[in-house]
């Protein structure tokens, strides 16, 4: 089993692990502009050296309510450009060893022990998709064809 190099993201009482290759930089409490009519997981927009980046509610993306207050924004680059994940504590690097078990939440791929805590490893492509931003609770059943 290869170790996974991650950035640990504190979100409330939970801990999530983002594969480090996905992270561009960490911004401290960015100045946010609310985006009227946007889905609830979009906390707002911030300016990253002239680029307009949406800050996404990490807990909201996972269907777990809302992040109370954004302490840091972890800027992530994906197939749909830049976006940022909100955290409530300082993100730090970590090597994850073997998984301790499967995870239940869609958008995660397993649970790992980090000291006395458990971190859920995030699946960025699944998490950072337009469908999930629009409706984190939606189940996109691509196999169904439907009648009726």
């Amino acid at each position: 089993m290869t170790d996974v190099h991650v950035l640990l993201l504190p979100v409330g009482a939970d801990l999530y692990a983002l594969p480090v290759d996905w992270a561009c930089e960490v911004v401290t409490a960015p100045t946010l502009t609310p985006l009227a009519t946007a889905p609830p997981v979009v906390i707002g927009l911030f300016n990253l050296r002239g680029q307009i980046v949406p800050l996404l509610d990490t807990a909201g993306l996972l269907g777990l309510g809302r992040v109370e207050a954004t302490a840091f924004a972890v800027v992530v680059t994906g197939a749909h450009g830049l976006a940022a994940l909100a955290t409530t504590g300082f993100p730090r690097r970590q090597m994850l060893d073997v998984p301790t078990g499967p995870s239940d939440l869609p958008g995660t791929t397993g649970l790992y022990q980090v000291g006395q805590q458990v971190a859920a490893l995030l699946d960025p492509p699944a998490l950072l998709s337009p469908e999930r931003v629009r409706d984190p609770a939606a189940r996109l059943d691509l196999t169904s064809t439907g009648g009726g």
């Binding site: 502009t33 609310p34 927009l45 307009i52 064809t145 439907g146 009726g148």
Partner: protein, 688 residues
């Protein structure tokens, strides 16, 4: 060769061929109107000859062969052995299309132009000339020089110059130009930030700093030039329009003269590209619906030959493209009947606003779509694409006299003049070309009509609503704040704001593709202080305000972002249907969640209620009837309206749905965007 890979050579040939084929098409259309112009014949011959040679060099033997066959036909014409008839032009144009398709690797309908066409025979519409038809023998045996000066300057698309060509043109990948423009656009906000920093950190007024002013001037020049590098003439799209007019009018037996004026007017390439389909649609629409047959025109006392005219002009920072015809005009009575059928309130609309109804989804489809002009879409698509380019479309029509559509767009959408306002404590930008006027709040101008407040504007009552409330923001707005009147395609709407901040050129950036399309937001820009300025979309605002602004009762206070939005749960096991309905309802301003069957829907409703449920019938696990019954049986859900959308159209199914407790039933065969939104609005109105 010069060490270039075959792949590179073919790419270059494709670039060259695109330019030459476009020129060839132009020449052929001109030749049809000027059959005795030997210079034109020579130019056509030369283009084909050059294409043939270049294709052979690129190793594209088939393309070379096709060009050769066309060249032989033109040689027959040039030698005076074949007259220029409409059929010959048909064949040469079709051959040009086939050459283009062969170069790009696509297919073109119609018989291939082969070597038999080149024979002076009677096949494929080509005729042997009768002696009286034969061209004069005095034609030159070699092609004369091309009269390039006769091509409008803007329409000229010369092949690329070689390295030794000195000045002239070079081909630059579009992506590179776009990146250049984007980077130059960044300098605008960077410049503002530097000015602010000078002021804040060094207490220097930037306006008094010579170095800063010089930098500003240089950056302004740079921006101007970068923008101009992306500008192309309107003539870029008129050749294909001319061709469409010719082909369509011939196919429909109509006699149409095409006129194009002001085609050297330049505008942003991206804007023009976005508009090209819309203009084509209007042109096809004019021939299909507006222009009468020659016999009908004569009966109406008109010239049998109709005129279809495109006129482009620049007016300030906007470009107007007008497409006008002298046909029968729009049947406004029919538009009004259709509007009534769809439940659209037309009372109090001006004549112009009634004509503007033809741009509404559903209405435009019923009125204007055929397989020719519509190709499955209506004038609402024209409006949508024009609005996507930050433009607007207007229509004027007079029965029996003709119709004129005007597309009005900013020269570039990279920088947009905006009115900055504050609403619900936030700052927003409104594109200036949509702002009719802004005025201070005057209680005497505000009254109430049809269940909503209105203000008097130019003698007309215009509905008014707080901007913050329209956006679903808490603290909707000050009742005594100023009012901004915005104009849409067929409606005007006023919005109350907290205060007017001023005007500014905003470098608009698209929002992240990760975000869904937000109908009320056009984009965002960066403020001098580094904060984000959200640019609103006036047509979207007007539509949203029109949907939700009519209420005679006291309004419930908004409690936070999204509080004013109504939520709909869409239940369907078919992904395509689900996503289609979601898109329609989101565009109409609803918050939409989806579920894949009845059981899934109940789980979602247990997590969070929705204001309305739209459900299919046939689904796995739990069907739509059972879901409706379950909702009616649930104490906290029982009052939730249910709309069934099903392909089952029998009366018994409809009755069963109603018996189960559904509030509405739409069959998918009659389903369209308007009927769904109308039904949802109606049901939510009942329960509001």
């Amino acid at each position: 060769m010069s060490g270039m890979s075959p792949e590179r050579v073919r790419r270059l040939f494709a670039q060259e061929a695109e330019v030459r084929l476009a020129e060839l098409g132009r020449l052929l259309l001109r030749l049809e109107q000027n059959v005795d112009d030997e210079t034109l014949v020579g130019s056509v011959f030369r283009e084909l000859h050059t294409l043939k040679g270049s294709a052979a060099v690129a190793g594209l033997d088939e393309v070379s062969r096709m060009a050769h066959h066309l060249e032989e036909v033109v040689e027959e014409v040039r030698a005076g052995r074949r007259p220029i008839t409409a059929e010959v032009i048909d064949m040469l144009l079709r051959g040009t299309d086939q050459l283009g398709a062969a170069v790009s690797g696509t297919q073109v309908d119609g018989p291939e132009v082969d070597s038999t066409h080149a024979e002076p025979a009677t096949t494929n519409g080509l005729q042997k000339p009768r002696p009286s038809e034969a061209r004069p023998p005095a034609r030159p045996t070699t092609p004369p020089p091309v009269d390039r000066a006769s091509v409008p300057a803007g329409a000229r698309s010369d092949p690329p110059e070689g390295p030794a060509g000195g000045g002239g043109f070079i081909m630059v990948p579009v992506e590179r130009l776009e990146e250049l423009t984007r980077l130059v656009g960044e300098t605008a906000s960077a410049q503002l930030r530097v000015g602010r920093m000078l002021n804040d950190r060094f207490h220097v007024d930037p306006a008094t700093c010579a170095e800063f002013n010089e930098l500003s001037r240089s950056l302004n020049d740079l921006r101007e030039h970068a923008m101009r590098a992306q500008m192309v003439p309107v003539s870029t799209i008129t050749d294909q329009l001319h061709r469409a007019v010719r082909d369509l009018s011939r196919a429909q037996g109509k006699d149409v003269r095409w006129e194009a004026e002001g085609i050297d007017t330049e505008m942003d390439r991206g804007v023009l590209h976005r508009l090209s389909d819309s203009v084509m649609h209007l042109v096809r629409n004019a021939i299909d619906h507006g222009i009468e047959s020659p016999a009908e025109r004569e009966r109406a006392g008109k010239q049998p030959r109709a005129t279809l005219r495109l006129h482009a002009m620049q007016l300030g920072a906007e470009v107007i493209i007008a497409v006008s015809d002298d046909g029968r005009g729009i049947d406004t009575e029919s538009v009004e009947r259709e509007a009534n059928r769809l439940g659209i309130d037309i009372e109090g609309l001006t004549q112009e606003e009634r004509l503007g109804l033809s741009f509404r989804a559903g209405l435009s489809t019923a009125q204007f779509v055929t397989d020719v002009s519509g190709r499955g879409v209506g004038l609402d698509v024209v409006r949508t694409s024009v609005e996507a380019a930050q433009g607007r479309v207007e229509v004027r029509s007079e029965p029996g006299v003709g119709t004129e559509f005007r597309i009005i767009v900013p020269i570039t959408v990279a920088v947009l003049r905006c009115l900055l306002v504050e609403a619900a404590g936030q700052r927003f930008a409104l594109p200036f070309h949509r702002v009719l006027l802004s005025q201070a709040h005057e209680p005497s101008t505000v009254t109430h009509a049809e269940g909503r407040p209105v203000v008097w504007v130019d003698g007309h009552p215009v509905p008014v609503r707080p901007l913050g409330e329209t956006l679903g923001l808490a603290g909707g707005g000050k009742p005594e704040g100023p009012v901004v009147v915005l104009a849409g395609a067929s409606r005007r709407h006023a919005f109350g704001v907290d205060r007017l901040v001023g005007q500014r050129d905003v470098v608009i950036k698209a929002l992240s593709p990760l975000l869904p399309r937000l109908p009320l937001v056009a984009g965002a820009g960066v403020e001098p202080d580094g904060s984000i300025l959200v640019v609103l979309d006036p047509p979207g605002l007007i539509e949203r305000a029109g949907q939700t602004g009519r209420t005679s009762g006291p309004k419930a206070p908004a409690v936070g972002p999204g509080a004013a939005r109504r939520s709909v749960l869409v239940v369907d096991d078919a992904l395509v249907v689900r996503e289609l309905q979601r898109g329609i309802l989101e565009r109409a301003g609803f918050d939409v969640r989806v579920a894949t069957d009845g059981q899934h829907a109940l789980t979602k409703l247990a997590q969070e209620r929705s204001d309305l449920v739209v459900t299919d019938i046939e689904m796995p696990t739990m069907d739509g009837f059972a879901l409706t019954e379950a909702i009616r049986a649930h104490p906290s859900l029982a009052n939730t309206p249910v709309l069934i959308v099903s392909s089952r159209a029998s009366d018994s199914d409809r009755q069963r749905g109603m018996d189960a407790g559904a509030d509405g039933y739409i069959t998918k065969s009659a389903f369209d965007e308007t009927s769904l939104v109308t039904a949802v609005n109606r049901l939510l109105g009942v329960t509001a």
